[in-house]
Amino acid sequence: MAGKKNEKPEGGNKKSFGAAFLHWLPFYLMGAPGLIYIFINNYMPLAGLQIAFKNFNFAKGMWDSPWIGFKNFEFLFKSKDAFVMVRNTLAYNIAWIFIGMFVGVSAAILLNEVQNAVAKKFYQTAILLPYLMSMVVIAYLVYAYLSPSSGLFTKGIERLTGNTIQFYQEPRWWPFILTFVHEWRGIGFGMILYLSSLLGIDPGYYEAASLDGATKWQQIRLITIPLLKPTILMLLILNLGQVFRSDFGLFYQVPMMQAPLFPVTQTIDTYVYRALMQLNNVGMSAAASFIQSVVGFIFIVTANKIVSKLDENSALF
């Protein structure tokens, strides 16, 4: 943006264009495969955005199907559940971004303190393992604990208190269950980037600090966290781009598709799936995706703007 002070003068002003081009050519060539991939994978499909505004007909194809304005978007807001699903999607995502950040940074710091290389590898792998599990498997793991007739947890509570909690019929437990499952599954993956940033911190800082008598806690507070800040902010901005999307497997499989739980488990993605499963309407699916992308885009740009106001160097662009 105009007014940004740290723009470096480019060589192009002084050297001739041809010489500059020749100088950078090998780098362009090196970057070409990646750029071509990104172009094909991320930019070419953008033309398909028009499907959201069309009455898509397979025989006519994407370009010849008739335009119908915003009609494809109506179904999202026709139901009185519109508020519930938007609320659930946003609330879970925003809460999880911050919980995930806290849990991920904590886990990374703790793991970084483990000195034994074998133990470190073991812990890291063990924590990452749930992330590689299918949601269907996780759903049945959860069911093994919460099943009304044979669940380990349900039966335990029954023994202790004499009450049977019908987990699959009582919505009030599910914000916590889903949060727990989400963090348990995601913590291993969530901390990888933090851990790699931690490994990049010069050990000299810590040596100097301990020579000056800093406690472990002071080292973490005054060295580790400030140096992790750029990574934390970058992940925060990137995650904010996903706030209008939800983990479909988590919200669809783990609650076992139980209707009484919909007030706390219905998100935009599960609603779209349920509404369109029989209809098979490409235009309406595209419309839902379109909204998710646009809202995500707005969130990213806004978050970046705020971050760049607070700390210019941490902004993504």
Binding site: A47, F58, A59, Y168, A259, P260, L279, V282, F317
Partner: protein, 521 residues
């Protein structure tokens, strides 16, 4: 820096749009080519028609055309597919100078595979519609070719066999597909464990009342068997126990409650009968006739029935439906819960059409016609190769069984949801007997015809409502089906209000308007 990023993105988008546009132009001539070809074949067909109406000549000088044809199943392994194709080719090559490529398709993928295949220009010839991808959806998606001219030119047997359901094969007066159920009378029924009924002295008979079923539930409870299981189902299960003409899988677009007598489309969820049905299910659940964990246990009712953990399950009723419910460990029975009825839904349940992108619609029609004409071919493509996939039951004329063949474990050749050809010329699967052909005829003769027969609701104008209604049903219906609500009346009222808000009554009004127009009112 930021300006540059933005300009780069914009350039990328522009370039992508331009390039994608190029791609489209490059494709266009190919499509035109296909159209021209279609026109040519149509002309060729016309020429043939001039020579001899109703029986177009087959050109044996050209290379045989390979016709892709789908069979719908549940991801069975179909190890004998090549052998079936060989056997089919042995019939089709000399008769219509064509070979087949049989393509098994999972029922859940019907809609997406067909539409994506058409859009992606894959080779597709004879496609299956109905089941989970309705004829009207397929027509509005543009995947089917109009068949009337081809039928007139090359399909005399197909026309003859499907003449009773011809009206249901049309959308806006144009035929788009041929019914797999030319004898389409159907009604609601209950499949039950006959061995168990005899043992516990339960009298099962046609059109049982709900009170009688409840009494059966009490007897079964004493013996530790559940009456049935509805599970986490968002279907209109009531339809299986009634003679409704249903628009949409669960009556989303309304139903005719007395289809042979009245053409008044109603909202079944606002009917007294539906609330009573929900009350009945609550009684069943509260009394312990339904499994306590039925909502979360994903074992299918079919599996529980086979394992003898549940006594009965609702099913559609036709003279050969019992074959679906046979089990080696016990004898099954089937009762019907309403009068047989001829509806559009029954006729369009499973159909064969020709893909809009097929290179040789004429060859496809030749094959379709041959399947309706030639009972051996229909048997082959339905049940596989004799001796390998099935054997004749001794002492019968037309009854087969897979027992004792390598196909008995569903690994050979399976067309679980597909039905080809004329049922009167095809074999039947035990325990159905040779009596079947007479039964089928009398069942269809006896059936009354729905006032709306031939009419299909065009839901194109209501995608928003359809999506919203579907979401409501998935949310509110399972608990009512399962009988697990504390107050049935309040839950039904809640469902009614939500459906009304989703626009169901507007859709029904639109449906009534279309039906009235169809009936020429």
């Amino acid at each position: 820096m930021k300006k540059r990023v933005i300009s780069m993105i914009l350039t990328g988008v522009l370039a992508a749009t331009v390039l994608a546009g190029c791609g489209n132009k490059a494709e266009a001539p190919a499509q035109e080519g296909a159209k021209e070809e279609t026109a040519e074949t149509a002309e060729a067909a016309e020429g043939a028609e001039a020579a001899e109406a109703g029986a177009a000549e087959i050109n044996f000088d050209e290379d045989p055309y390979e016709i892709a044809i789908t069979i719908i199943g549940l991801n069975e392994s179909n190890n004998d597919l090549e052998k079936v194709e060989e056997a089919v080719n042995a019939i089709t090559l000399p008769k219509i100078n064509a070979t087949v490529d049989i393509q098994p398709l999972f029922i859940g993928d019907m809609g997406t595979t067909t539409t994506m295949g058409i859009a992606g220009g894959e080779k597709m010839d004879i496609v299956t519609v109905g089941l989970v991808y309705s004829l009207s959806n397929a027509v509005s998606d543009g995947v089917l070719l109009p068949l009337d001219d081809l039928l007139a030119e090359r399909g005399p047997a197909a026309v003859e066999v499907t003449k009773n359901v011809a009206a249901a094969q049309k959308i806006d007066g144009v035929t788009y597909a041929l019914s797999g159920y030319p004898y389409c009378a159907i009604t609601g029924g209950i499949a039950y464990n006959k061995t168990m009924a005899d043992e516990y002295g339960i009298d099962m008979h046609d059109e049982m009342t709900w009170d009688e079923l409840t009494a059966a539930g009490e007897i079964l409870k004493e013996h530790g068997v559940y009456l049935t299981k509805y599970g986490n189902s968002s279907q209109l299960n009531l339809k299986f126990e009634s003679g409704f003409d249903v628009f949409g899988g669960s009556g989303e677009y309304g139903i005719l409650m007395n289809p042979a007598d009245s053409d008044q489309i109603e909202n079944v969820y606002e009917s007294e009968l539906f609330e009573k049905f929900c009350e009945r299910n609550k009684i069943w659940f509260d009394n312990g006739y339904l499994p306590a964990d039925q909502m979360t246990d994903s074992t299918s009712v079919q599996q529980l029935f086979a394992d003898q953990k549940v006594f009965m399950t609702s099913t559609s009723y036709t003279p050969d439906q019992i074959a679906v419910w046979t089990n080696p460990n016990f004898e099954s029975g089937l009762i019907r819960m309403a009068e047989p009825l001829v509806t559009t839904g029954g006729a369009v349940e499973m159909m064969l059409g020709i893909a809009a992108t097929s290179e040789r619609p004429d060859k496809c029609m030749d094959l379709l016609n041959l399947i309706y004409e030639d009972g051996d071919l229909a048997t082959l493509i339905n049940y596989g190769v004799e001796g390998l996939d099935y054997v004749k039951v001794e002492g019968t004329e037309h009854v087969i069984t897979a027992d004792g063949t390598p196909n008995a474990d569903h690994s050979g050749y399976y067309t679980t949801f597909s039905h080809f050809g004329d049922p009167m010329k095809r074999v039947v699967v035990a325990p159905v007997t040779d009596q079947y052909y007479d039964d089928l005829k009398s069942f269809n003769d006896e059936a009354r015809t729905s006032k709306a027969f031939g009419y299909s609701f065009n839901a194109d104008q209501y995608p928003t409502e359809a999506a919203a209604i579907s979401a409501v049903l998935q949310e509110k219906l399972p608990m009512l089906n399962a009988g697990q609500v504390s107050d049935v009346h309040a839950a039904v009222e809640d469902l009614k209000a939500a459906l009304d808000q989703a626009g169901m009554n507007d859709v029904i009004a639109g449906n009534q308007e279309q039906l009235d127009a169809y009936l020429g009112k």
